[in-house]
């Protein structure tokens, strides 16, 4: 055995991110670590790589127990890691970036030459003199891999390496991985792309809610069985009165929304149509990076449409309107990224409240002559904090001072406080502890039951099953037809997430 963990546990406050994890990696295998967001994959890997210290349990490296005190110690043992979010300096060249991370004191030019030779050997061409800021994400990843290989590791950890690659780049990466395996190195491959894992991995460990729920040989499984292991086949069944199709105006009506990619790494949207009736929660499932963020931006007005009728909110055409104008139609939005997008980190909660509400509640929050009505905003912030049980250290702290869960409760409460007719939220409980997540989910259901239309985009299938009346799946920028939650099984949704049935309305056809 190259690496084993024994009852490895990590506790953050009340949240057990990793609960007595037992798994092992043999020499010369590609081992997949599967799990949804929040299943504990990252925490486990950080403990292996020394960025986090376990609360209890043991790491066994080449049959002797070790303490991995830091990433440097991990590198000394022979572990290398390629991060999902790259840690390169844009203004420096590839060779300079590699040099900075090596302990070896050799001239940059020599290290660059070594890197070039190694990169050619492994089929990952890297130009050592290229400035990183000019390179594509795929090329940057190659630099990170080469940097890792220069330290001659026995185990290489890759954190969702293909999430930023084109299919061609991914194929090339796989060939390199096979070559590394043939040299006797092991690879820990973190992913939630099931087809990929089945294609390249020799073994897999599946995590759910911080626990190991299974080991398997991926090529003997189907995407459906893998998905069920990841998601769990015991989905909490919440009975709801079926939403009667009334003749009422829908809360959200999206018709044939298409949009080219807006940036170098964004996904195009293809012919997305969607209806959310008043009184229901519609969930959108999907693997990260399949167009969720783009769809959210299109609905919130951060990306406007070319036709007014493409997006209708409460029956009014909104396609040409910006965010504030859409808010004035009664819509509210909570984006995925809390700090920087949902809230200005260094501004206080009341200031953040005013920022999102000035358009709709200007008369209440701003006095004549443009003076901010601090007392009114303060009262509204206190009301929101009480309603959502926001725990904070000071009366009005900066947004960045709150924990992720508490800030998310505040941001959702900020929108709920308006009683919006339409609420669109992306990843409502990402990185939020279980208690806060339950409170947020309950609040979303309550809002819908009071007659609003709620659209929830999430990568957490359990969550969608718990709160949605209907579920649709987004894959590569195309949205499937929404199916009633009673008809949606984990397997059906998992297949759609893996792209098994691309045509809208063709849900659930087994591969």
């Amino acid at each position: 055995m190259l690496l084993q963990t024994r009852k490895l546990t990590k506790v953050f406050g009340t949240l057990t991110a990793c609960d007595a994890i037992d798994f092992s990696i043999r020499s010369g295998e590609i081992h997949a670590l599967l799990g949804e967001n929040g299943a504990g994959k990252s925490t486990l890997v950080k403990m292996l790589f020394g960025s986090l210290q376990p609360t209890s349990g043991q790491i066994v490296w080449q049959n002797s127990p070790v303490t991995v005190a830091s990433p440097a110690a991990a590198r000394k043992l022979g572990l290398g890691m390629v991060f999902q979010h790259f840690s390169l300096f844009d203004a420096l060249t590839a060779a300079e970036n590699i040099t900075l991370a090596l302990d070896e004191r050799a001239p940059v030019a020599d290290i660059g030459e070594k890197a070039r030779a190694l990169s050619v050997q492994y089929g990952l061409p890297v130009d050592p003199n290229a400035v990183v800021g000019d390179l594509s994400v795929g090329e940057r990843q190659r630099i990170e891999i080469v940097r890792c290989l220069l330290q001659d590791p026995s185990l290489i950890i890759l954190d969702e390496p293909t999430s930023v690659l084109t299919p061609q780049e991914a194929d090339r990466l796989f060939e390199t991985l096979f070559r590394l395996r043939d040299e006797g190195r092991s690879i820990l491959y973190i992913s939630h792309r099931l087809d990929e894992v089945r294609r390249i991995c020799d073994a897999a460990t599946i995590l759910r809610h911080g626990k190991v729920v299974g080991h398997c040989q991926p090529d003997r499984e189907t995407p459906g069985t893998l998905a069920r292991m990841m998601v769990g086949d015991t989905v909490a069944q919440i009975t709801r009165a079926p939403h009667a199709a009334t003749g009422e105006t829908p809360a959200i009506l999206v018709s044939r929304l298409s949009q080219p990619p807006v940036g170098p790494f964004s996904t195009a949207l293809h012919d997305v149509s969607l209806t959310v009736q008043r009184g229901e929660v519609v969930g959108i499932a999907g693997v990260a990076g399949n167009g969720q963020g783009e769809l959210f931006d299109a609905l919130s007005g951060e990306q406007r449409q070319s036709l007014a009728d493409t997006v209708q909110l409460s029956g009014k055409p909104a396609g040409l309107l910006g965010v504030s104008a859409r808010r004035r139609l009664g819509a509210a939005f909570v984006p995925e990224e809390r700090l920087g997008h949902g809230a200005a980190p260094q501004m206080t909660l009341t200031e953040n409240l005013l920022l999102s509400r000035h358009a709709t509640d200007g008369s209440a929050f701003i006095r004549k002559g443009g003076v901010i009505a601090r007392d009114m905003i303060g009262r509204a912030a206190a009301r929101i904090s009480a309603a959502m049980d926001v725990r904070k250290g000071a009366e009005d702290p900066p947004a960045a001072a709150l924990s992720g869960g508490n800030l998310q409760k505040f941001l959702i409460g900020r929108e709920l406080d308006r009683q919006p007719a339409v609420l669109i939220v992306n990843q409502p409980t990402w990185g939020v502890d279980a208690g806060a997540a339950a409170r947020i989910r309950q609040a979303l259901i309550d809002l819908a039951r009071n007659g609003s239309g709620v659209l929830v985009i999430s990568q957490d299938l359990d969550e969608l099953f718990e709160i949605s009346d209907r579920i649709a799946v987004i894959h590569d920028g195309a949205l499937s037809a929404a199916m009633p939650v009673a008809e949606a099984t984990a397997e059906r949704i998992g297949l759609l997430m893996a792209g098994a049935a691309a045509a809208p309305g063709n849900a659930g056809v087994a591969a």
Binding site: A72, S87, L88, F89, D90, L92, E96, L100, P107, V108
Partner: protein, 304 residues
């Protein structure tokens, strides 16, 4: 005649080059020290006082360097250890330096200074045309040229220089790699202080060997501007400093010859010419952005 003019150009350019090359190193590490003028004038008064008292200009130069370093340490304490605003602290340093030097130098006004004489390098200084110009100069001239080359080599050819640039490019990533951000910045700021102090010493030991209040006359600010207009590249700083020196001396001669242009315009010429040339050579916006230290002016407070 021409040789004499060229010699005065070198003398005018040297303090700018010294101060700017020091500030370049500080800024490349991500620290914007607007106190160059203050450090320079402190170096000038310290150098004059010590040289006058001891009669030894070399001791004066040493005192000027030490004065610059100690002033830069004060700046480092404020902005690096206490993480105060760099712009405000730098301005305070300049104001403090101008005031303190005036007070300390009051009793030296009007006294004859000690000149640091030119050191001719044997044989080489006898070369035709360039001999006297390149090898018959004062020690500050040699030092400034050596520092220009040395800083280029250090920044772009040495591991320590690479680490310094990475600290200036992204202090959070550099910290994550295990680099000592604060220590690197202290050393860079002290180097900046050393160079500014020497630039001041050059003014009172070579340029005009006497002490006059405010005699740095904005040279610290010009050095600061040179760093930015040279897009943080040592070679361009040399070009900029000499260009500025050449046009300043040239316009003085032009005024003496009585060219029919208003003297105000001629006095403005060095500034205009330097800006124009440096803007032209840094037209490549992408390259300029690449060379701009991205965390310039941002205080670094490590996570605890």
């Amino acid at each position: 005649m021409l040789e004499a003019i060229l010699l005065t150009i070198a003398t005018a350019a040297t303090p700018l080059l010294l101060a700017a090359i020091g500030e370049l190193v500080a800024e490349r590490s991500g620290v914007l020290n607007l106190g160059v003028e203050g450090m320079m004038i402190m170096g000038a008064v310290a150098a004059f006082a010590v040289a006058y008292t001891t009669g030894n200009p070399w001791l004066g130069a040493l005192a000027g360097a030490l004065a610059g370093v100690s002033f830069s340490l004060l700046f480092g304490l404020l902005t690096l250890t206490l993480a105060t605003n760099q712009v405000a602290s730098g301005l305070a340093l300049t104001i403090l330096g101008l005031g303190a030097s005036g007070m300390l130098g009051e009793s030296f006004v009007g006294l004859p200074g000690v000149k640091l004489e030119a050191v001719s390098i044997p044989v080489l200084s006898d070369l035709p045309l360039v001999g006297r110009l390149l090898f018959g100069q004062d020690p500050f001239f040699y030092l400034s040229i050596l520092l220009g080359i040395g800083v280029w080599w250090f920044l772009f050819r040495s591991r320590a220089g690479l680490e310094l640039r990475s600290v200036g490019a992204n202090h959070a990533s550099a910290h994550a790699l295990g680099l000592k951000v604060i220590r690197v910045r202290y050393l860079a700021v002290m180097f900046g202080g050393l160079c500014a102090g020497l630039a001041g010493a050059q003014l009172t030991l070579v340029y005009t060997p006497q002490w006059v209040e405010n005699m740095s006359a904005g040279r610290g600010w010009i050095a600061l501007a040179l760093v930015v207009f040279a897009s943080w590249r040592p070679g361009r700083i040399v070009v900029g400093a000499y260009l500025f020196g050449a046009v300043s001396i040239g316009q003085l001669h032009a005024q003496a010859l009585g060219i029919g242009l208003p003297s105000q315009l001629l006095s403005a010429l060095p500034y205009l010419a330097t800006i124009a040339v440096l803007v032209l050579i840094s037209r490549d916006r992408r390259a300029t952005l690449m060379n701009t230290p991205a965390s310039l002016g941002q205080p670094f407070v490590p996570d605890r």
